[in-house]
């Protein structure tokens, strides 16, 4: 019965946005993006901050359900703990859209998140660019986790797309800086002449920087992922060459736009990837504030 | 017709030791066959071949003339062999009832039938007149009671062969009598009984035949009526004239003084003193509170009131460490649980109490420790392949010697000995008595707790008799007799605790 009412250009529609936490600039940006889009779309956007508290978030969503909002945007604190909340929304047949993090259960119309595959691909292409030719190594994240899988997939696609650069070693360092250091040291034993390293997150990349010390960034190119402050610093210092930054504001705006589509009964993709950006010495200043 | 049990040419080697060397043994139904031998002679090892704990390296075992293979305790049980081990083999966390029927719990519909088990246990305990509740956990029992539970456990299977490895070591007079009644009953039922003990009078009282072992070798098989001197000669290889060679030395100034020591429900206003050169004996029946008294004096248990003075100094914060530093030593009655440190070597165990004294700026004088240990091993004639041997592998009696040696090395000026010769062979006993003499002559004092009355009467200069947690009376060496002691001891029992 609801949803058809898209006639009067969405007026009176209300969308609930439940954010995992706002003590993190990434999610603040996500909210801003959503609010901007809401203004453009002319809908009312309710925002709640779960402060990284799963059960708090359940209550937030429960409130949205009782307030009969037209759609719920949820950025789960925990993709497992969120399931009951989503199910209760499903029960009241309010469409739910997941932002940045997926949900492990319940019916989610669409999941809008950074495109880790694309990020991995960009990183791969950048590394090929930097290295030119020769062997490179990959530091994998925790086996079996989504980011590890997607970033790895993208990276391999980029490498397979050409044949000047090949992957001589690919080992897991579990997203951990210390293991990044150890594994890199070990890889350097078996393949002393690697020209570059792609680490599936910046922590491991910074570990690699330690392992290579003065060779880092110069003789051996290092590309990371996530654009954490330490990594941006390293890029400025030239010990790292590049990393991948996500675009939280876009996740927010796309969330609202697609929520409207759903309300108006249009169908949307099950997964909506959001562009990621390559950070290099040239543009690093844009990301450090 | 062939004997009930026959062991031929049994040999058992352990790293560094040949415990048994081609030993023969036989047992008739309805006979009590005593195994006699010094500590470390191989008695326990021999019977462990029958109970399935060890397998012989050589030799064969025949039951009713049929060769049998006893690979596990289960095998032994199915052959009708039941064993009371020298070391306690109870599960402290479990109840008396469950320990008795361990591995054989009565079941209904595949489930353990508690009620039934409890009933059977109570029935059994009453039959052998042990006053413990089937529901008590073993950890709450004293050594004496534990021993009785072990006996009940062994009796709970109707065995054709019953093996008893020093069952009387931790029992006092009347309990021993109770045990012997049971044994006589079993003889009626043609049960064959292997009986190990270091008390020769028990041998004559209950035994039919005696097999003597020495250094793991078969010495001889004689009727139990053989006189003690002869038995001792076979065991030790030399005659022993005086079994209680007490050499009194004129007692000097008071070393240890205990003033009105009391602990709720355990000790009641106990006062005693030990002078230099004196052996003070404490007699009493099990449960009298002697062990508790000893522990209280040594600071091992808290007390409600009372003072302990050592050489004129009041021991303020009563802890074992303080007591030790003041020069008190304590040989506990529970050797396994409180005496030895099983994984450590003989030398390490010997050095334990003197460790602190041999430490300079935090560093232990290990060479000295080791040298002293080696000397002590010789002085006490401890049977061990070497000072490095883990003490858990020593025979019971030899472990006891090590525990005593530990305190000798800590040169304590007052030694509290709780059942010091429990499980120690006649020869070694005399050695320990001689040691007590040397100690007292060198001006030390000894407080000797013992359930072995002849020992108390033989060695003590003064006898304190405990009952119901209080000192019921004191007897001078001259006037003390079994009767007088027992009279005093039982006077306490109506007020007995626990």
């Amino acid at each position: 019965q609801r949803g058809g009412g898209g006639g009067d250009e969405g007026g009176g529609e209300r969308i609930g946005l439940s954010i995992s936490t706002l003590n993190n600039p990434f999610f603040v940006a996500l909210r801003d993006g959503a609010q901007k889009a809401a203004k453009d779309e002319g809908v009312e956007l309710l925002v709640s901050d779960a402060q990284n508290d799963a059960s708090q978030q359940q209550d937030d969503i429960q409130n949205y359900v009782t307030q009969q909002v037209s759609a719920i945007l949820v950025n789960p604190v925990d993709s497992e703990a969120i399931v009951p909340a989503i199910e209760s929304a499903n029960g009241a047949d309010i469409p739910v859209l997941a932002l940045d993090r997926g949900a492990e259960g319940g019916e989610v119309v669409t999941t809008i998140a950074s495109d880790n595959v694309q990020g991995g691909q960009m990183a791969g292409e950048e590394l090929v660019e930097l290295v030119g030719e020769g062997g490179v190594a990959q530091l994998e994240g925790i086996p079996g986790t989504d980011p590890a899988r997607d970033r790895g997939q993208g990276f391999e696609e980029a490498i397979n797309a050409q044949d000047a650069v090949e992957v001589v070693a690919s080992q897991t360092a579990n997203f951990d800086r210390n293991q990044g250091l150890n594994v890199t040291e070990n890889i350097l034993q078996s393949s002393p002449d690697v020209k570059g390293i792609f680490a599936q997150n910046d922590e491991m990349a910074l570990g690699a920087v330690q392992a290579l010390d003065e060779r880092a960034g110069s003789e051996v190119k290092i590309v990371g992922f996530d654009a954490v402050p330490d990594a941006l610093q390293a890029i400025q210092d030239g010990t790292m060459n590049a990393t991948i930054a996500q675009q939280p504001d876009q996740i927010g705006s796309l969330g609202v736009e697609n929520a409207m589509k759903v309300i108006d009964g249009e169908s949307v993709e099950e997964n909506i990837p959001v562009e990621v950006k390559l950070v290099t010495k040239e543009n690093v200043s844009e990301f450090t504030e | 017709m062939s004997p009930l049990l026959e062991m031929r040419g049994i040999t058992k080697r352990f790293p560094g030791v040949t415990a048994l060397d081609r030993v023969d043994f036989e047992l008739e139904g309805g006979e009590v066959h005593v195994l006699l031998g010094e500590n470390g002679a191989g008695k326990s090892t021999l019977i462990k071949m029958l109970s399935g704990a060890y397998r012989p390296d050589e030799g064969e075992i025949l039951l009713d003339g049929e060769p049998v293979r006893i690979a596990s305790a289960a095998d032994a049980q199915s052959l009708g062999i039941s064993t009371i081990y020298q070391e306690f083999n109870l599960v402290p966390e479990l109840t008396v009832a469950e320990n008795i029927f361990l591995g054989r719990q009565p079941r209904r519909f595949g489930l353990v039938d508690r009620r039934n088990m409890r009933a059977e246990a109570r029935e059994l305990l009453e039959r052998i007149r042990v006053l413990v509740e089937p529901d008590e956990t073993v950890s709450s029992l004293g050594v004496a009671q534990r021993q009785m539970v072990e006996i009940a456990k062994a009796l709970s299977v109707n065995a054709r062969i019953l093996i008893m490895d020093e069952p009387t070591a931790s029992l006092s007079g009347e309990e021993v009598e109770r045990l012997f009644e049971i044994v006589r009953g079993l003889k009626e039922q043609r049960v064959g009984i292997v009986f190990i003990s270091h008390h020769l009078d028990e041998v004559t009282e209950i035994g039919d035949r005696v097999t003597v072992l020495r250094d793991g070798r078969f010495v001889d098989r004689v009727p139990a009526t053989t006189d003690h001197a002869e038995l001792v000669r076979m065991m030790v290889g030399r005659p022993i004239e005086d079994q209680y060679p007490r050499r009194r030395s004129e007692s000097g100034e008071v070393l240890l003084e205990v003033k009105n020591l009391s602990r709720e429900g355990v000790l009641e206003d106990v006062a005693l003193s030990v002078r230099a050169g004196e052996v003070v004996g404490i007699a009493g029946i099990v449960g009298a509170g002697r062990t508790e008294l000893a522990r209280a004096i040594f600071g091992a248990d808290p007390v409600d009131s009372g003072e302990v003075w050592m050489e004129g100094h009041k021991i303020e914060r009563a802890t074992p460490r303080e007591a030790k530093r003041r020069g008190i030593g304590f040989i506990t009655e529970d050797r396994q649980g409180q005496g030895i440190v099983p994984p450590l070597s003989v030398a390490e165990n010997l050095g334990l109490a003197s460790l602190e004294a041999n430490t300079r700026v935090g560093l232990v004088d290990r060479r000295g420790q080791r040298r002293r240990a080696v000397e002590m091993i010789e002085d006490l004639a401890v049977r061990t392949p070497g000072p490095e041997q883990e003490i858990r592998y020593l025979s019971g009696g030899n472990q006891q010697k090590v525990v005593i040696g530990k305190w000798l090395l800590a040169d304590s000026r007052v030694l509290i000995m709780d059942e010091p010769t429990r499980g120690v062979d006649v020869g070694a006993k005399v050695e320990i008595y001689e040691l007590m003499n040397e100690l007292t002559q060198s001006g030390a004092g000894i407080l000797m707790i013992s359930s072995d009355l002849p020992e108390v009467l033989g060695m003590a200069d003064r006898v304190l008799v405990m009952g119901g947690g209080r000192i019921q009376g004191e007897l001078a060496a001259g006037e003390a007799t079994q009767e007088k002691v027992m009279a005093l001891a039982t006077r306490g029992t109506e007020t007995a605790v626990g």
């Binding site: 402060q51 990284n52 508290d53 799963a54 059960s55 708090q56 209550d59 497992e80 399931v83 009951p84 199910e87 492990e104 259960g105 925790i142 086996p143 079996g144 986790t145 590890a148 899988r149 | 109970s51 399935g52 704990a53 596990s72 305790a73 289960a74 032994a76 049980q77 064993t83 081990y85 306690f88 083999n89 109870l90 599960v91 402290p92 966390e93 479990l94 109840t95 469950e98 361990l102 591995g103 054989r104 719990q105 079941r107 595949g110 489930l111 353990v112 508690r114 529901d135 956990t137 950890s139 456990k153």
Partner: protein, 320 residues
């Protein structure tokens, strides 16, 4: 002592079933501090959240009572989930077969633990540590590192459905497993053997108990319980995750030990373990409700665990 008579009425529990006192105190404090805490909804919520750990911990109880330790339960849980997921989502086998395979693989892992310990003569810590690594690896190999779904609806209901419209099925399953554990520990021959072996292995052997066979059984049971927990978890997540169960072993062991069992064996009860799991669950749930910052949460958890258990041990000591 616990082994003697584990009744389930509170007074007994107070004296043997571990730190019930601590749990009650904790609940009282939470009720005072947060209006959300003492609601049917939230309590069932806690129950649902601890169900998986509790079932793991029940299996662990067998092992710890018998004087061993099983570090592999977390990984084995993951393995069971993946095998089950593979059987349904990839091989499209009928549900019963899939369940059999999932739980069976876990039980097999447990059996191997037992074999390594008895035949291989390895310390339980090493044997199960090896399995911790191997089982996790296998789960990754089988799944290719990706979550396997969909999980059949029937199973998903087990994760999210409820009885009489308000008792969550995971809680039901947990209670069933608890009862089963109580029964095994109290009334079966093997249960009694666990206490005996844990209390004095040599004495047990000399009493004719075939210790090795019992140990094989004990570790197999632990694996079996881990398998059931694994199915439940993938039911709740509506997907089988190769990583699920990571570091659960610590929670499981903690629940057992907080519940009053001793790692040296011979003591421990199912009810104690349940209380241990509840303490952990209530604590985490409560800290969320009070929305304590993530960092301080860990500090508080540490402090509260210590306090909760102390109430227990100090009381015991007072009792002498």
């Amino acid at each position: 002592m616990a082994s003697l008579t584990e009744r389930v009425n509170p007074r007994e529990l107070l004296s043997r079933g571990g730190p019930l006192g601590g749990l009650i105190a904790l609940c009282v404090v939470m009720t005072i501090l947060s209006p959300y805490f003492l609601t049917f909804n939230n309590l069932f919520n806690v129950g649902t959240q601890i169900a998986v750990i509790a079932i793991l911990a029940f299996g662990q109880t067998f092992v710890i009572v018998s004087g061993g330790i099983d570090l592999s339960v977390g990984s084995v849980l993951g393995l069971a989930g993946i095998v089950f997921g593979w059987a349904t989502a990839v091989a499209n086998l009928p549900l019963p077969v899939a369940l059999l395979l999932g739980i069976g693989s876990a039980a097999l892992a447990g059996l191997i633990n037992g074999a390594l310990i008895t035949l291989g003569n390895l310390p339980p810590f090493i044997a199960t540590l090896a399995m911790l690594s191997a089982a996790r690896g296998l789960a990754l190999v089988i799944s290719g590192g990706v979550p396997l779904n969909p999980i059949p609806g029937a199973i998903r209901t087990l994760g999210s459905g409820d009885l009489f419209g308000f008792v969550p099925l995971p809680v039901i399953l947990m209670i069933v497993m608890w009862a089963l554990t109580v029964g095994i520990l109290r009334s079966t021959y093997s249960g009694r053997c666990m206490y005996a072996i844990g209390g004095n292995e040599e004495a047990s052997r000399l009493s004719g108990i075939s210790v090795d066979r019992q140990k094989l059984l004990i570790y197999t049971l632990s694996g079996l319980f881990a398998g059931i927990a694994g199915i439940l978890l993938s039911a709740r997540l509506a997907s089988a995750q190769p990583q699920s169960g990571f570091t659960f072993e610590l929670d499981a062991i903690a629940a057992v030990v907080i519940g009053g069992a001793s790692l040296s064996g011979g003591t421990g009860t199912a009810s104690g373990t349940l209380i241990g799991a509840l303490i952990l669950g209530v604590l985490r749930n409560g800290l969320n409700l009070l929305n304590v910052s993530a960092f301080w949460q860990q500090v508080v958890i540490g402090v509260v665990i210590a306090l909760a258990v102390m109430t227990d041990t100090l009381r015991r000591r007072r009792k002498g």
